[in-house]
């Protein structure tokens, strides 16, 4: 019988670790912190090297507009989507390692909520749950430049993860994260060159590369997931070969993208029945999560409790015992 050759690689680089959240001893009010990153080998290949910390799952909560969620999600969360605090509590019951507070209501085309209103929502969520918090702006530069300073200040001391810094607005976000000592999400539009460039721009503006989590943009199953995978794979390989500008842990916006798909909400297939229709969305989300975990994603932002459970089971299968770098 022939031996299987050892194809392990010797990598010279590793992925940074980022810790989010601050306990009372650390100046915050979180009951625990979350640390991601630390891999010094390809995703989950524990025979090759340290695989880093367990991927974390952040659950998405909106500041307003929960009633517009697709039925399968509203049915899972029930009345809780009526208030960010209640929604966050429910998310923690569903196993959230962190809450990702997405300021949907701040968007000028939605309710156009004010920076002050958003800051109050942040305080509400902080007082409702003990897990660390991600605060994600509405994605419109001019509005985020007003909202993010307010929410960052409202959460000062909690070591949140604030997003997102992009090529055109990074200075404001960097200044805010430096002033209030938060970690920062650096976003790029499915372009590895821009991903690297945004990191170096932030570094030049005085932000520590080690405090960055990279968001290379996510596409769900059927909507560009393979391309997303290939970009994350290229970046991961470069990082393991020593490129410090691509050595940041990665966050994937799985829930948001998966539930945009028509297959998740109104699957147009003849095999769909009233009994199984609700499964499509959560499976679309779980499948996207399972694939992007294999590209090395360190943090997933998710929605459906069953998709979260399936993602957790996937992680447990890839990492049988608690592993750290």
């Amino acid at each position: 019988m022939s031996r299987i050759p050892d194809v392990s690689e010797n990598w010279t680089g590793k992925i940074n670790t980022v810790t989010i959240g601050a306990t009372p001893e650390q100046g915050g009010t979180r009951s625990r912190t979350v640390t991601i990153g630390g891999a010094a080998a390809l995703p989950f290949l524990s025979f090759e090297g340290p695989v880093g910390n367990r991927p974390a799952i952040a659950v998405e909560v909106w500041d307003s507009g929960g009633e517009t969620l697709p039925d399968p999600l509203r049915n899972s969360y029930g009345e809780a989507v009526g208030s960010p605090g209640g929604w966050a509590k429910k998310a923690v019951e569903f196993g959230a390692d962190l809450i990702c507070l997405r300021l949907m209501g701040a968007h000028p085309d939605a309710e156009n909520r004010s920076p002050q209103q958003c800051a109050e929502t942040v305080k509400e969520v902080l007082s409702s749950v003990g897990v660390p918090i991600i605060i994600w702006g509405c994605g419109v530069n001019e509005k985020d430049n007003q909202v993010l300073p307010a929410v960052s200040a409202a959460a000062r001391g909690e070591n949140c993860l604030i997003g997102t810094a992009r090529e055109k607005n990074y200075r404001t976000v960097v200044a805010v994260c430096l002033a209030d000592k938060h970690k920062m999400i650096a976003e790029s539009p499915l372009d590895i060159n821009i991903a690297k460039q945004v990191n170096i721009l932030c570094s030049d503006a005085g932000f520590n590369l080690e405090d960055i989590v990279v968001f290379p943009t996510t596409g769900a199953l059927g909507y560009g997931m393979e391309y997303v995978y290939s970009i994350q794979e290229r970046a991961r390989l470069a990082a393991l070969r020593g490129d410090r500008l691509l050595a940041e842990p990665v966050i994937c916006d799985v829930g948001f993208e998966a539930w945009r798909a028509k297959e998740a909400k109104a699957p147009p297939f003849s095999s769909v029945t009233d009994d199984n229709r609700a499964q499509w969305g959560l499976m679309w989300e779980a499948a996207t999560a399972a694939v992007l975990l294999q590209a090395g994603a360190e943090m997933l932002v998710m929605r459906h409790p069953d998709a979260i459970r399936l993602a957790r089971e996937t992680i447990d299968r890839f990492m049988p015992a608690a592993t750290t770098a």
């Binding site: 060159n193 590369l209 490129d243 500008l245 691509l246």
Partner: protein
């Protein structure tokens, strides 16, 4: 690209005077500036006609060690100086250099192993600098064999196919590039391929232009180390840009600056 800074060499007037007068601050300034400019190691050469070469070399290395941690390349043709300094000097070192003659090379390999040092091996022997590619490759292969037999790892061995000035040896740059390509294929993993880059433009005009053009050409053939001037900013940018074009790094608009972060 493994850059060995060439500047601390007694052939330069300022260094010659500093050695004579034991002016530490001039040497330390050159050391820190070369390191800051991206040098991976510093070549140290006392220059010609120094009465106590060993003492001068030790003084240079100790002076450098006070301000930088990167390896020093002990540049001397004399075995007595090399063996004494390599054993005495603190920190990581590279022995610059040995010829390819078997008895000589074996001795240097032994010394390198003893000191945990790297070794630069020149593809020349008692017959002189080879006039063709084949002899260069033969001597390079010989050095690889002697190093391997002596237990020296390939990542500690630097093969130098000896570049001569283009004005007096016009075929030489081409020969060196061909030798680099062939020697790269000789072992797996391969040894480093190195050149004393500035020699290609010795006594020519447009020295900096010749140096940086040849650096890019040689890197395309597999050169991964050079004794060169890290204080030549355009030369360092050329090295980074050549690495980009050889797919050794991912592009971004600020790729030159990004290379600093490695």
């Amino acid at each position: 690209m493994y850059v060995i800074g060439e500047r601390i060499n007694g052939m330069f007037e300022d260094v010659k005077e500093a050695i004579r007068g034991r002016n530490a601050s001039l040497i330390q300034d050159l050391a820190t500036r070369q390191a800051a400019a991206g040098a991976s190691a510093l070549d140290v050469n006392v220059g010609p006609a120094v009465s106590d070469a060993k003492g001068a070399m030790i003084w240079l290395i100790e002076t450098i060690r006070a301000v930088v941690d990167i390896p020093v390349s002990i540049d001397t043709a004399k075995w007595e100086v090399m063996s004494a300094v390599a054993r005495q000097a603190p920190g990581e070192k590279i022995l610059n250099s040995t010829k390819a003659d078997p008895e000589i090379a074996a001795r240097y390999v032994g010394l390198a192993r003893e000191c945990g040092a790297g070794l630069i091996g020149l593809t020349l022997d008692a017959e002189g600098v080879p006039g063709n590619v084949d002899k260069r490759v033969e001597l390079g292969a010989q050095l690889i064999t002697i190093a391997t037999d002596g237990g020296l790892a390939m990542d500690k061995l630097f093969i130098d196919p000896v570049i001569l000035p283009v004005n007096v040896a016009p075929k030489n740059p081409g020969h060196c590039m061909a030798a680099i390509s062939q020697l790269k294929a000789f072992a797996d993993p391969p040894p480093h391929l190195l050149l004393g880059l500035s020699n290609v433009s010795q006594r020519c005009s447009n020295r900096a232009l010749i140096n940086r053009t040849y650096l890019a050409m040689a890197m395309a053939c597999g050169l991964d180390a050079a004794i060169m001037d890290p204080l030549d900013a355009e030369l360092m940018k050329t090295a980074i840009t050549a690495e980009l074009l050889l797919e050794k790094m991912i592009y971004c608009d600020s790729y030159l600056e990004a290379a600093r972060h490695r």
